[in-house]
Amino acid sequence: MSLKPAVNKTDHIQGKKNAKIVIVEYGDYQCPYCGAAYPILKEMMKKYGERIQFIFRNFPLSEMHKYARSAAIVAEAAALQGKFWEMHDAIYENQEYLSETFLLELAEKLELDPHQLNIDIKKSELASKVDSDFESGVLSGVNGTPSFFVNGRKFNAGADDLMQLMSEIVK
């Protein structure tokens, strides 16, 4: 199963530019398994972030997780103010408190412009970005969250195994 489309400029990217190892996560902000994977991925980037690249794409299961889509939209809106990863991290670090009001509180803590955020979260472009991430996930064979891809190939295991793989292959 391969990643479609490949990593491109619409993606949220952290880590080393032009890295030889590129990891993509499809995640849902309200998914408990993604929440459990978060600290492992954070640790992975702390250890290997200077040599690998990490990308997050939205895969909200919004029928099952009430706030998953709102969280994805708010994170995309934060990206427009240059704070995608700050919002991404803040949501996962406070996953148990997730609600629409709480998302706005996080935005305030991150000092996002509230007026602009309020305009941006209603933009159809943001909804389309979340939808297109989701659709790309389905076409790439994502069957649940979190799902990982390593260099464009589906990695059929969890964050612990991904960490293990990195410890073996990152030189």
Binding site: M1, P60, L61, S62, E63, M64, F134, E135, V138, L139, S140, G141, V142, N143, G144
Partner: protein, 150 residues
């Protein structure tokens, strides 16, 4: 297991405690059948949750999806409500596994159907089928590719 170009066997199964669905009565629509082992088991739940999010994509291809397992209509109702599912789950309950058997996806040892997908065109011909390992959620990429080709 039935394959591409086989005629999809007709069936009438409970979709709710008082409503039955007959395949041949779904006219002018493509049909996706997702046979799965059991309500409530972790992989199936993920699989059905995924399809639940995919309904608008299936609609684009003029396709309706039905989940099928040997669970009863009441079990399906509780499962469906708990997962907020917006598509029917059919009960292959009496005679147990009869429909799964017709499609060649009944697992006698387990007393459940295998995890299998069928895409049936508007003429009632199977255009794609896929048997997934029991423990693996097959996702929806294969379904979308098959619908794309119709």
């Amino acid at each position: 297991m039935l394959q591409k170009n086989d005629v999809a066997p007709d069936f009438t199964l409970f979709a709710t405690p008082n409503q039955k669905i007959t395949l041949s009565e779904i006219k002018g629509k493509n049909v996706i059948l997702a046979f799965y082992p059991a309500d409530w088991s972790p992989v199936c739940s993920d699989q059905m949750a995924l399809y639940n999010e995919m309904l608008k994509y299936f609609k684009k291809y003029d396709a309706e999806i039905f989940g099928i397992s040997v669970d009863s209509k009441w079990c399906h109702m509780a499962f469906s409500q708990s997962r907020n599912l917006h598509f029917p789950l059919l009960a292959d309950f009496e005679p147990k596994g009869e429909t799964s058997n017709k499609y060649g996806v009944y697992n006698k040892e387990e007393g459940e159907c295998n995890r299998a997908l069928f895409v049936i065109d508007k003429e009632g011909i199977i255009q794609w089928s896929y048997l997934s390992p029991m423990a693996v959620n097959p996702g929806a990429d294969g379904i979308l590719e098959a619908l794309e080709k119709l």
